[in-house]
Symmetry: C2
Subunit: 424 residues, 2 copies
């Protein structure tokens, strides 16, 4: 193209801002029609989708992409089915837009309440998986937002083919195609432009590896919805049912090693350590999990030493660090200090321990007698998630449709005016 990347991205941004006004006032029925029509368009375009994806795969193989990367890139019939199912599920979710809450009369006579409204324009930056194009676009559309999608250059043909299906879906519902725009250039400068245009983009959601998220966060002038690490803990407290504790800790570590909610450090109260650790360690070893322990743990079981770094490492692998703590206070202190404010659990039957842990652990999800592996939008009933946030402002934890909206005040009067005017 002859226009510069910056000009191109500005044009996309302007179009997205204008489209956000249209999708922001679209009815639930119209948005659902667009979602269902997109599912049908994907179904009708299976051959084109596979052909486009084959182009990406061939280029990927030629460029020496790793097998795991090629696997993520592949658009199999099952993945097309899964995108279609996702669209239909999002169509079935309740529409958050327009809900008004807490409308009440004030002494002056005005009524004041809050109305839920879309954020406006959401920018999504992601890596190889082309199905993110549908997942992200559908959540943004249902929540009344316009979207600018910037996928990885290795998936450009697949993403264009998917974008064509979304455009068909939008058109069938009478919505402008600019509601969902896929960045058509693979120039890296496009990302730089997208994350520095607060006048056109209201929030950026980076989806991918930690390197991508760090780069985006560092350079962005637009708010970024993100989590960097998932250093999650299970604390087996003095009041724990030890059989339950073993079941929870085992599940928190081994359900899937690679998820952000996987436990990375197990904290064990000194009161129960001698009873609990030998059996627990044996189960982890049978599963092939490498264990690293504090000095007190080393005194109880045969285990490699944990270094200071271990307490702040997200392994995402079959490795687990174990620390024996003096009690609840030290457990909470350890988690708030070394953790990443993601998801942390206590196992106890004692209400007093649970109450304090829940109130004082400063994490986006705090759990009682449940494994941290549950930290997921689907498990929480959000239907789907656009991401997980460990920041404290706006949305915290798994973010679904509600996190893609905000609330404005609605004030209704009957001509009432404030008394006491400007002197003079």
């Amino acid at each position: 193209m002859t226009e510069s990347v910056l000009d191109y991205m500005t044009r996309l941004g302007r179009a997205a801002r204008a489209a956000s006004r249209v999708i922001g006032r679209a009815s639930t029925a119209q948005k659902n029609r667009a979602l269902l029509a997109t599912a049908n368009a994907l179904d009708a375009a299976r051959a084109e989708l596979v052909a486009a994806n084959e182009q990406d795969l061939a280029a990927g193989r030629a460029n020496g992409l790793e097998p795991a990367m090629l696997e993520r890139l592949a658009l199999t019939p099952a993945r097309i089915d899964s995108m279609m199912l996702g669209l239909r599920q999002v169509a079935n979710l309740p529409d958050p837009v327009g809900a008004i809450r807490d409308m009440s009369y004030r002494p002056s006579g005005i009524q004041v309440g809050k109305m839920r409204v879309p954020l406006g324009v959401v920018g999504i930056i992601y890596e190889s998986r082309p199905n993110v194009t549908i997942d992200a676009a559908s959540l943004c559309l249902k929540s009344g937002n316009a979207t600018i999608l910037r996928g990885g250059s290795e998936a450009i043909h697949s993403n264009r083919a998917i974008a064509a299906c979304i455009a068909r879906g939008l058109a069938e519902a009478g919505l402008p195609e600019t509601v969902v725009q896929v960045v058509q250039t693979t120039d890296r400068a496009a990302v730089g432009a997208l994350i520095t245009q607060p006048e056109y983009v209201d929030i950026i959601v980076p989806r991918g590896g930690k390197g991508l998220i760090e780069r985006v966060s560092r350079d962005a002038k637009v708010p970024v919805l993100k989590h960097l690490d998932g250093i999650c803990h299970v604390y087996v407290a003095a009041g724990a049912d030890l059989a339950m504790a073993q079941r929870i800790a085992f599940n928190a570590k081994t359900y899937r090693y690679g998820i952000c909610g996987a436990m990375e450090t197990l904290l064990v109260d000194q009161a129960v350590a001698a009873d609990f650790l030998p059996g627990m360690a044996a189960q982890f070893r049978d599963k092939g999990v490498e264990l690293r322990g504090c000095a007190r743990t080393q005194a109880l079981i045969d285990i490699k030493p944990a270094s200071e770094d271990d307490w702040s490492t997200e392994y995402l692998a079959p490795i687990l660090s174990i620390r024996i703590v003096d009690g609840l206070d030290q457990a909470i202190e350890h988690i708030n200090h070394y953790g990443s404010h993601h998801s942390d659990a206590i196992v106890t039957e004692w209400q007093g321990e649970a109450r304090r842990f829940i109130a004082e652990v400063d994490s986006s999800s705090v759990m009682h007698n449940a494994p941290t592996s549950f930290a997921d939008g689907f498990e929480y009933g959000l239907g789907a998630e656009i991401g997980i946030s460990t920041d404290k402002l706006h949305a915290r934890g798994p973010v679904g449709l509600e996190g893609l909206t905000c609330e404005k005040y609605v004030v209704i009067g009957d001509g009432v005016a404030l008394r006491g005017q400007e002197p003079g």
Copy 2:
């Protein structure tokens, strides 16, 4: 002091982070005791407060401070009364911390809900008014946050004397003095350090002129709660009761010229302009308000022309720009384009016009048959406000106790684990 400003601010930040754990779990009764004891301490320290303030006033007069600035700086007996009243009012507000909502069972057996928790550490940067020290500290304390207060150097003696009263109040309630810390140095580098320590400070609230807010926002690495402009509109729609419209528009402009909710542009539907504008203009002129109008307005009444700049100017003065619009669409477009997303009102009896205006105007407060001058935390029933935000993330509009908190997920199980473990 021999330590550097950066070291000093880091020490304050660390102490604030530690204190935030204590105030975050303090009971409502304990926090209220601290607020009421601070009010009593102010009452007992009237002589010291006035003496300290006299030092600031003398220095201000010597440095040639403007009379308006000196007026804002003065700590009169009435202002001490008003600080005490404020403390007692905040003690009477409901405590938002710890509330759990929407706890419900999921198919897996876990219960999921959201718990309201403090943000952590709030940094307040403000100019000459020493009463902000009490206003801000009391809201942060009640919402369970630690506070670092950086007032203007011209008020340093007054702020130190007030801080001593807060320290007495905290001590009486058994809370550490580090819950509320007043920056003791007047070195400007302290502000730079405060706004770039996300590890110790969770949110910055700048209170003061636009210059201060712009500087803080530009340089901050911590999220900033702010609004820059209040370019507020009243739209007199085709369906307006014209007598009501005149009352509302007059109040929106003249209640107080200097508040951020003051109307700066009046939009009038072409259908009612000829009937409405002559009487309205006469009332404004009698009050001494300078009027500037679009070409169509100039054709109807004798008025100076408005320039393009007028539509995006916050006068904060007895000046008003007037534009005749074709209808609702143009009014909404004008407000979303030229406004500052602060507070905007429609006057109409027609439900359809009001419904669209409320849904589509992208402002933190949208009003129907009420003047924009109502945009205020006290009028909205928040009890008090720490500021007004025109950003879309986190809190929007007047921000009270709730805006100083966030929500984390609480997950409760009974040992349930996720099925389907890591293969292998």
